[in-house]
């Protein structure tokens, strides 16, 4: 008796397996198609549509007028300010989160889990409510203002300024930075650091040459997770910034709600999306390919 190799059967089994996988994935695929891809397609379609005199969006006379307006100084100013605020928030988050993530991931497992829960606790309550809570802390009689003025650090009232917006964004998105950083630092093989120290690397050199490169995927992921929502932030600038400085999120909302200019709002959304996508791709190419 000989056992003949039956490549045909194996092939069929392989096919069946992949079919099963496809079927299992199907609900999610359909969900994404219906609630993500199609709406996105509608946004794209709207961006080429026409605004009627009464502010309705008409899907006729396809044109690129809305894109033509994107070079105007208003749009540029809004875009640059949003980029700046998002970049500052991301850097502050990174500076704050890195030592914290490093600290957490070098604790004993029990302590580690407790600290991680601590990082996530703010998520248990609504973001809007937490942002309004900051408004109370930051207003003229607020604790924050009192403490800062009390310490003689000048006028502590930062409510309705860009500082308050950045504070709110850092507060809101810090966990998004801590968690991916933790995940990548925790994975590091510490014997590599030992090896570096054995070869007379200073603590700083060991960090710079070993720990930092190995944690890069976390840095990349965390930065994207903070930067992207900060760039389009709407709630925080409205509540803590007093909506004073035009930012991307509110500018897009204004187009739909006040100017009733669907095409312009849609084209802004499409461009933001494209810029984010390209930025993310470049960033990934640079760094954490092995995420």
């Amino acid at each position: 008796m000989t056992v003949a190799a039956t490549p045909g059967l194996e092939y069929q089994a392989e096919r069946a397996r992949s079919r099963r996988g496809f079927l299992l994935g199907l609900p999610a695929v359909i969900y994404l198609l219906v609630f993500f891809v199609i709406p996105l397609g509608i946004v794209v379609a709207y961006s080429f549509a026409t605004r009627t005199r009464t502010g309705r969006t008409e899907l006729t006379d396809w044109n690129i007028d809305a894109y033509g307006r994107l070079g105007e100084s208003v749009v540029r100013a809004v875009a640059f300010r949003s980029l700046w605020i998002a970049a500052v928030s991301t850097i502050i988050c990174l500076v704050l989160a890195y030592p914290l993530a490093y600290f957490i991931s070098t604790r004993r497992p029990v302590t580690r889990n407790l600290l991680l829960v601590g990082v996530m606790i703010p998520f248990w309550s609504n973001f809007l409510i937490r942002t309004y809570a900051w408004r109370v802390l930051l207003d003229s009689d607020g604790i924050f203002t009192q403490v800062v003025s009390g310490l003689g650090l000048g006028d502590g009232r930062i409510l309705f300024t860009s500082k308050a917006v950045i504070l709110g964004l850092v507060y809101g998105y810090l966990p998004f930075m801590v968690l991916p950083l933790y995940a990548s630092i925790e994975r590091i093989d510490w014997s590599l650091v030992e090896g570096a120290r054995d070869l007379y690397a200073s603590g700083w050199t060991a960090f710079r040459r070993v720990v930092w490169p190995l944690s890069r995927p976390g840095v990349v992921a965390g930065s994207i997770l903070v930067f992207v929502p900060s760039f389009g932030a709407y709630v925080t600038p409205a509540i803590l910034g007093g909506n004073k400085k035009g930012l991307m999120g509110s500018y897009i909302v204004d187009q739909f709600m006040d100017a009733r200019n669907g095409p312009l709002g849609a084209s802004l959304s499409v461009v933001v999306l494209a810029v984010m996508l390209v930025g993310t791709l470049v960033y990934f190419r640079q760094g954490g390919r092995n995420l």
């Binding site: 509608i42 379609a45 005199r53 009464t54 502010g55 100084s73 409510l159 004073k244 100017a259 200019n261």
Partner: protein, 365 residues
């Protein structure tokens, strides 16, 4: 590469399907069902601003006609427009403001009022019988009205503040009354740019690029003294002591000033301001138009109209209601301003609308 092309094609195809099915349902029925006075044809779906309707009035209507009323709420004309604009919303009766009425009429989203079913329309005061946004009041019946002006914490400024938009825009006045960083403006291009236009002595419906540019400069110059652009919390901010003057709507100030510890005042500046009217309208595709007209007629009744104003403290456009309105409400100059001559409606400026939004965006950037 082939995978990408396939994905892209799929994306395009799906979007196209969505778009095509989106416009396919655009057919319209031109003939509206005729209704008699008091006739009902099912339960009413009422879409209204929040805190704007006395629940007792709804209960009374339900008892009287044996139908039930479901009330949903919206915070802005634009949100309401977004929901009903696509059609088949299921709502019968809505309460759009002036400029939104003209948009709804030209988009054929609301139907003419059937005079036979709404005899109480005759109760509406002459002033509201032929509004610029709905000439001849063919489509709408006024619901309530109010003004946009300035609320002040007179406990801080003293009683003698000048009644001018300059409190919001003028650096000299800001210094005199300690207002710097204590001012809020509405986050609304038409209202805020409109206030600046009025301050300069222009119409708030100006479609002159030069006048708009001047108004933009006025706001840009004031931005450093502005605490916030806020359309929801302006009165709370004053009561909390966070701001001293605010730009906002009459009724809201009145409600919140009741809560505060200081003394407050609200006025429409001497340069003039916005008068707005919210109006009842029946949707073109209302499933129960007759009940909607019956309810409209019910609210336009003299006593019911008075009850509404006594409840929500907004002024009534119903002339016949006046004898039934509480004297304290009638005598309140915030609810019933004494000088109506300088008030102006916001009118839809069509294509020019975008310039208002851009002016405000530029002014604060």
């Amino acid at each position: 590469m082939r995978k990408w092309i396939r994905l892209l094609a799929l994306f395009g195809a799906f979007s196209l399907i969505a778009v095509v099915t989106g416009c396919g349902s655009d057919e319209e029925s031109s003939a509206f069902k005729l209704c008699a006075e008091g006739e009902t044809d099912g339960n009413l779906n009422f879409y209204n601003w929040s805190e704007y309707m006395d629940p007792d009035l709804i209960a009374a209507f339900q008892d009287q006609h044996g139908v039930s009323v479901t009330e949903d709420f919206y915070p802005s004309n634009e949100e309401m427009h977004g929901k009903i604009g696509v059609g088949n919303s299921g709502y019968d009766l809505i309460v759009p403001s002036d400029y939104m009425v003209s948009i709804l009429i030209s988009d054929e989203l609301i139907q003419p009022i059937q005079a036979a079913a709404v005899p109480n329309q005759a109760n509406i005061a002459e002033r509201f019988g032929d509004p610029p946004y709905d000439p001849g009041a063919i489509y709408t019946a006024a619901y309530q009205w109010g003004t946009t002006g300035v609320g002040v914490d007179t406990g801080v400024t003293g009683e003698d503040v000048p009644h001018t938009w300059g409190l919001l825009f003028d650096s000299g006045l800001a210094e005199q009354y300690g207002l710097s960083g204590k001012i809020s403006l509405l986050d609304d291009p038409r209202e805020t740019v409109g206030a600046a236009l009025k301050y300069l002595g222009y119409s708030l419906n100006s479609t002159s690029a030069d006048e708009l540019a001047e108004a933009e400069a006025v706001i840009a110059n004031a931005v450093s003294r502005i605490a916030a652009f806020d359309s929801d919390q302006y009165s709370e901010l004053i009561v909390m002591g966070e701001t001293v003057v605010g730009h906002g709507y009459s009724g809201n100030f009145l409600w919140d000033f009741e809560e505060g510890d200081s003394t407050y005042d609200y006025f429409v500046p001497d340069e003039g301001g916005t008068i707005w009217v919210d109006n009842m309208a029946v949707l073109a595709d209302a499933p129960h138009p007759c009940t909607a007209f019956a309810f409209m007629n019910f609210l336009l009744d003299a006593e019911n109209g008075a009850q509404l104003t006594n409840y929500n403290w907004y002024a009534s456009p119903n002339a016949a209601s006046e004898p039934h309105i509480d004297q304290e409400v009638l005598d309140n100059p915030i609810i019933y301003p004494t000088d109506m001559s300088k008030l102006e409606f916001i009118e839809d400026t069509g294509d020019f609308e975008i310039n208002y939004t851009d002016a405000l965006s530029r002014a604060r950037s």
